[in-house]
Symmetry: C2
Subunit: 437 residues, 2 copies
């Protein structure tokens, strides 16, 4: 079984190291030894430290390496859309199995890969693309396929979880917590992909596709990042017995026309501290899955890092190796359900709204009237005199309202109308609430 | 694809119900419709309520049903060793794939089943045998097989977890908490299999076999139940920031001769409240897996109940169905590592020992001397004046000692020698401590 490895960065070098260290065990598990046919890198001659591999194996010619007759399996740990897509489509069409960690590519154009895999009758495995080391895609793809998954709620981005955990623990603002994350190596120099939710959205698309047997792409995912989460929001959450997490949520439901459909979104949300996801701290990932028969399930572990991601890649390599030796391939992508993706306005959510209001009779009635006009039912109202709210904003009174579940559009319209209300001085915080009801 | 279902109790009837409700989805996922060829029960004519199935399908002739030419897959949800073993061995040898939830049989004589599956070139799936709905065996068997698992620590018995959680929450004693569990339906009329750890030990054997690619049977598992856990133990744990759980632990290590080996055990233990397993309450199950590259992982969900277990059975049915349609079988049991199982005396653990002692000079020195003679290193000592310990035992002083990791035999010998010490009035509590160091 001969492998072409594309990329030799943090993950790629760990893959090479593990292939070397565990070669005897891997051979026993597969039934045949694994060999590295070549490693494609951008530049030769870079110091690869003490990587236990023949330097002759490095090449800058990825295309040539993939085409070689003696390559059975292509392992891609480069990332990005191109040239990765062309490489992998060519490999799959030529009947070579692919193991990839490339979430951006799978979310952007998973169809191209799945189609190429079907054309070439080759395997396409991508466990490492979501939640790093956590065995998650195989359970979704294979263990729960006798059940009906209704909802997936995940913390799938370690950088933002580190930042939000720090804000929760220390009361720091976003900028300060981001700075700490950068210093400690949890955030990249350009943190946009993480803090704006692009990374989580790609993973949400992959999870939703598997959970609901439907093709969902990155463009179908409603995405909000965490850059606007304030220390006051975190304090409000704490006052409610909640914490704020960047969640990816994929939920089954019915659209306005009554057809079954899915809603896929990434945004910060308050969740109760008693929820299993609330205690997922630091840069850890966890995914909470709800299924009709199985009930609630949670998968927890390291979502990033060279070794953790390499563990998932190695698991896929063994699976692909066994399949090839047996002359079979894994079940292909299952997209038979072909559900529509609901627009965000139709997603069912709850809102937590904190308002600075004038402390005079009739204010609550006016505010409640706005919610009623938009058919949004209020679950709880808490009215605090000025100065007792965490931030002590020095206004007349603070109204904290938590709603029942309603369509997101109705909630957004409610908040918009509240903005125009005379008695409302300002809207201090608006956050979605998940994990209750 | 035609199924013979053996057993129609809590799990079996849920399997039948799900097969009916989700028949279209299941057919799409497998690529062929599923049909029930027959359901073997002990007695006909029992009221099966509104089970959506032709009453003609019920039979008391399990052997005849299994032998029928039109049966492709045998689903066993009867439990127990015989006649289940004979049925399944015959089915597998005849090339029929088997899906079973029978942990007792797998732990007692898994080899017979695996060998029969190899003989008949048939599939043997048993996801439902451990931790009910939680997709756990497939990740161990297939996702992490590129990694090296070092330790599995699990809460795999819902009944005992319910009892210990109740003791922790209310301060109740074992008998009282067991009574509550029985009333609520969490404990059976004869709770022996649960509270004495037999159920957990069977699951420990299955987990250890998969994690370490080695055959481990129920007889290899050191087993202690929870019947001797007292309210005072729970209070001691709380005073240490810990909680008590019945843990199944399978750990890699080296034996006295320096050979790699495994230790597999089930016993109550204190774990820090900060450990992910500590917050697994009620009748939930969770399994914490540590692997070299992946790091720590946790799987959480419902460990029992008809629907949850049926979800796992259905997942296996789909996998088996797909394999048969593709004309392939899953990778067989992998037991290549063939590691020895260490005796309990060589297991590395930590002890928490609470002693009632005379309050006079030299007592601590004498006690510490006993630990030293057995080469057991003390991590912390806490000395409390009489009456301040939770139970207020009215003795002179209470010494609470927590050790570093040492062989279990050395710890047991230490406790034995402490018993004979003049200054030691009594040994109030001895508990293992896990999840630290």
């Amino acid at each position: 079984m001969r492998l072409a490895i594309l990329g030799c960065g943090t993950v790629g070098s760990e893959v090479v190291r593990l292939l070397h260290e565990q070669s005897a065990d891997l051979a026993a598990r597969i039934g045949a030894p694994l060999e590295i046919a070549g490693i494609a890198v951008r530049r030769l001659g870079r110091d690869r430290g003490d990587l236990p591999v023949d330097p002759e194996l490095f090449t800058t010619d990825a295309v040539g390496l993939i085409k070689r007759d003696d390559v059975d399996v292509v392992v891609e740990v480069v990332g990005g859309i191109e040239p990765a897509r062309s490489w992998l489509v060519d490999a799959l069409r030529a009947g070579k199995s692919v193991v990839t960690a490339n979430k951006a590519l799978l979310a952007e154009d998973g169809a191209a890969l799945h189609d190429a895999a079907a054309d070439g009758r080759a395997d396409l495995y991508y466990e490492a693309s979501v939640a790093g080391a956590i065995p998650l895609l195989r359970p979704l793809r294979e263990s729960l396929h006798g059940d009906r998954i209704t909802r997936v709620t995940g913390i799938v981005n370690g950088t933002t979880n580190f930042i939000l955990s720090a804000m929760d623990a220390t009361g720091a603002g976003f900028a300060e917590a981001l700075e700490e994350a950068t210093e400690l190596g949890y955030a990249e120099a350009d943190p946009t992909a993480d803090v704006e939710g692009f990374d989580a959205a790609a993973k949400a698309a992959i999870l939703a596709s598997l959970a609901f047997h439907t093709r969902v792409g990155a463009a179908d995912v409603h995405r909000e990042g965490i850059t606007e989460v304030t220390a006051a929001d975190v304090a409000s959450a704490q006052a409610m017995g909640c914490t704020i997490k960047l969640l990816c949520i994929a939920a089954r439901g019915v659209d306005a026309a009554g057809r079954e459909s899915v809603s896929v979104r990434v945004h910060p949300a308050m969740i109760p501290r008693s929820h299993p996801l609330a205690s997922v701290g630091d840069a850890y990932n966890a995914v909470f899955v709800e299924a009709d028969a199985a009930g609630p399930l949670m998968f927890y572990g390291r979502g990033a890092g060279g070794a953790a991601t390499a563990s998932a890649v190695l698991g896929d390599i063994v699976a692909v190796g066994r399949n090839r030796l047996a002359g079979v391939r894994a079940p292909s992508e299952s997209a038979y359900a072909d559900l529509a993706v609901r627009p965000m306005g139709e997603a069912l959510t709850r809102y937590h709204v904190s308002l600075d209001v004038a402390d005079k009779p009739g204010v609550l009635a006016a505010v409640a009237g706005v919610f009623a006009r938009h058919d949004v039912s209020i679950a709880t109202v808490r009215q605090a005199p000025a100065g007792t709210e965490p931030a002590g904003r020095g206004v007349d009174a603070v109204l904290v309202i938590v709603t029942h579940v309603a369509p997101d559009a109705a909630l957004a319209a409610t908040v918009e109308e509240l903005r125009g209300l005379d008695a409302v001085r300002s809207i201090a915080s608006v956050l979605r609430v998940e994990g209750g009801e």
